[in-house]
Amino acid sequence: MASNNLLRGTSDAQRVGSRIAGTPKTFAGMVIALAVLFITVVLSFSLGAKSIPPFEVAQALLGQGQENIVAIVGQLRLSRTVIGLISGCALGLAGTLMQAITRNPIADPGILGVNAGAALGVVVGILLTGALGVTSTMAFAMIGAAVAAGAVMMLSSSYAGASSPVRLTLSGVALAAILSGVTNAIVLTDESILDTFRFWQVGSLTSRPVAEASLFLPIIVVGIVLALFLGGPLNALALGDDSAVALGSNPARIRLVGLLAVTILCGGATALAGPISFVGLLAPHLVRRFTGPDLRRLIPLAMLVAPIILLLSDILGRLIGGGSEVPVGIMCAFVGAPLLIVLLRRGRSRSIS
């Protein structure tokens, strides 16, 4: 059924021919997504332990108003919103790309172990060098993500993945288990590493000031640009390797570039906000209901929808925690896992088993 959809979607896309962005419907979708994202950002600035009306937020961003409100908005809320936007975009794109490359609707960097690889990279980095700076955290996270993503791709092209998406998912689960087992063993050797790690591993948007977060921006933009250009080639890949070759594509090169983009995006997002699961799974699923399977529409929309999910989870975590807030990674798991179960139980999931 899924492959039917894919075929139909792509021939649709070919009928509309060379128009890049697709139909007015897609345009409307982008506008709506942008509007919702804007509202979410406003909410992220105003809601929390101390709620601030949007008007005062605007004033505070310009440096006017009460001193403590300027401090809350200009430092705490600004940094978590910016980190939410950057890592949300990155995770949404990474999930979409992984689903397309592995042809597996239940792929997610968290579930398939790429985040676990990035986490292991960071912990190994801390172990080797003592403390980690911003750039070295990023570098180690990306090395770890690259190794894990490479392993996932190898599994997906092996019999295990090729014969069934579910087997690929389970292979990813096993990979994630092995990687986090090693991570836990390293963490146990040193109390101070554990103390840092336990707060980092839950996934949080508040761990870095905005100045550090902005250092991640250039490399993640590279990943975003790569992802946006991959829509067309990945559409060809969705038809199967033989058809993709017949259409003049090079499947191996598409996968390699996709792998590069996934590594950059996951490594960057994990180094920035910790390992966060389920955002990369949910965003493309929500978007696909409106766009269909055409990746040229799906990828940019998923990029806008993922930060909405992440920021809303973060806001929810601030509000329900009472005195202490629930970190965003926990909220995402608590929102995302039930949704995954719903996806699995629905009739459509027959096509994935």
């Binding site: 239940i106 968290g110 579930i111 599994l155 092996s158 019999y159 295990a160 993945g161 090729a162 014969s163 069934s164 579910v166 087997r167 998912t169 389970l170 292979s171 689960v173 096993a174 990979l175 288990a177 092995i178 087992g181 090693v182 836990n184 063993a185 963490v187 146990l188 109390e191 554990l194 103390d195 336990r198 707060f199 591993q201 839950v202 699961s277 389920f278 202490s324 629930v326 970190p327 990674g329 926990i330 798991a333 608590f334 896992a337 039930p338 995954l340 179960i341 699995l344 139980r345 999931s349 088993s353």
Partner: protein, 360 residues
């Protein structure tokens, strides 16, 4: 030889194929089908268990000679240190490893048989994570005793197993869907554990983390009691249900036709298997992949789904891993790391092999 034994177990020559016989109790209340292969395998495995136990007693920095070991067991140890290392440290730890491994493997074999799903072992489908979350809750936020932690583990495991049974539905138990629902539930439980870890002082977090990785360090006689009681509770149940378990493995329709109450049998077996998982997790932490791997290895070796070989192999796996974890590295590491790396690799291999089979 009479077929109606007088309260004694006896072998019955019958029409069964060569190499098989049926073991019956008085008045045929219980009966077992035995194959020569399974019996030989069990004897071999039992010898291996004894050898491993022996090795565990001798291995370590504190050297004990063979005569001293024998003397210690006869009740007159050469000195207090030997008495301490053998009777209070090495013996209970090795026994805990064997019994926890056996408990996990038994639970895994039951889960896999009842669901007729080779991947549906409690560590993959989130029952172990549920137990770990329940135990962590008591350990970290309530601060309970060993018994209370065990209770927390049991409640957590039962909730996870119940959720899976509810969500997968009656017809969903065989499919991969069950496994994926379990994966999602496991992710949920792990998120809850991670959150609890951030809510306590760092010293408690270190203790809990060591337990969460799965470790047998410092396990002694009290822990042995918990896991031994759990195994003693399940043995008569398994004895009673072994025939029905074998029939269930052939499919629901056939089982119903043969007069087995499928749902009741499944419920009873799953509750007791969950109890086993919970006591194993409470004793040694959520050790992964033993429950998955041991039944698979046993099936390959014995050619049947018999539980006893699986239990023996599970015990061997965990005890061997624990020896490796203690002495193979420059400093001891938690046994959970060894099982997760070896077992995870085994799981990947299994998936790739199964994938190959379904392609050809």
């Amino acid at each position: 030889m009479s077929t109606k034994g007088s309260g004694v177990l006896n072998f019955v020559p019958s029409v069964l194929p060569a190499g098989e016989s049926v073991l019956r109790s008085a008045a045929d209340a219980y009966s077992f089908r035995l194959t020569r292969k399974t019996v030989l395998l069990c004897v071999g495995l039992f010898v291996a268990v004894l050898a491993l136990l022996f090795a565990s007693l001798l291995a370590g920095d504190y050297r004990v000679s063979l005569p001293d070991l024998v003397a210690t067991f006869q009740g007159h140890a050469p000195n207090k240190r030997t008495q301490f290392f053998i009777m209070d440290r090495r013996l209970p730890r090795a026994l805990v490893a064997l019994l926890v491994g056996a408990a996990l493997a038994t639970a895994g074999a039951i889960f896999q048989s009842v669901t007729r799903n080779p991947l549906a072992s409690p560590d993959i489908i989130g029952v172990s994570s549920g137990a770990a979350a329940g135990a962590s809750f008591v350990l970290l936020l309530v601060g309970g005793s060993v018994a209370q932690v065990s209770l927390g583990a049991f409640v957590g495991a039962l909730i996870a197993a119940g959720c899976i049974a509810l969500l997968a539905g009656r017809n969903g138990l065989h499919g991969v869907k069950l496994v994926l629902i379990g994966v999602a539930l496991g992710a949920l439980a792990n998120a809850a554990i991670s959150y609890m870890l951030t809510q306590v002082f760092v010293a408690s977090a270190v203790t809990a983390q060591l337990w969460l990785v799965g470790s047998l360090q410092g396990r002694g006689w009290p822990e042995l009691t918990v896991i031994a009681i759990a195994l003693m509770v399940i043995t008569p149940v398994l004895w009673r249900y072994s025939g029905r378990l074998e029939i269930l493995r052939m499919g629901d329709d056939l089982a119903i036709a043969l007069g087995v109450n499928v749902h009741a049998t499944r419920r009873v077996l799953l509750v007791f298997a969950t109890l086993l998982v919970a006591s194993a997790v409470a004793t040694a932490g959520p050790i992964s992949f033993v429950a998955l791997a041991a039944p698979h290895i046993a099936r390959r070796l014995s050619g049947s789904g018999a539980i006893l070989p699986a239990a023996l192999i599970g015990g061997l796996l965990l005890a061997t891993s624990d020896l490796a974890a203690q002495y193979l590295f420059s400093s001891p590491i938690p046994v959970g790391v060894v099982t997760i790396v070896i077992g995870g690799g085994f799981f990947l291999w299994l998936l790739i092999r199964e994938g190959k089979q379904s392609v050809h």
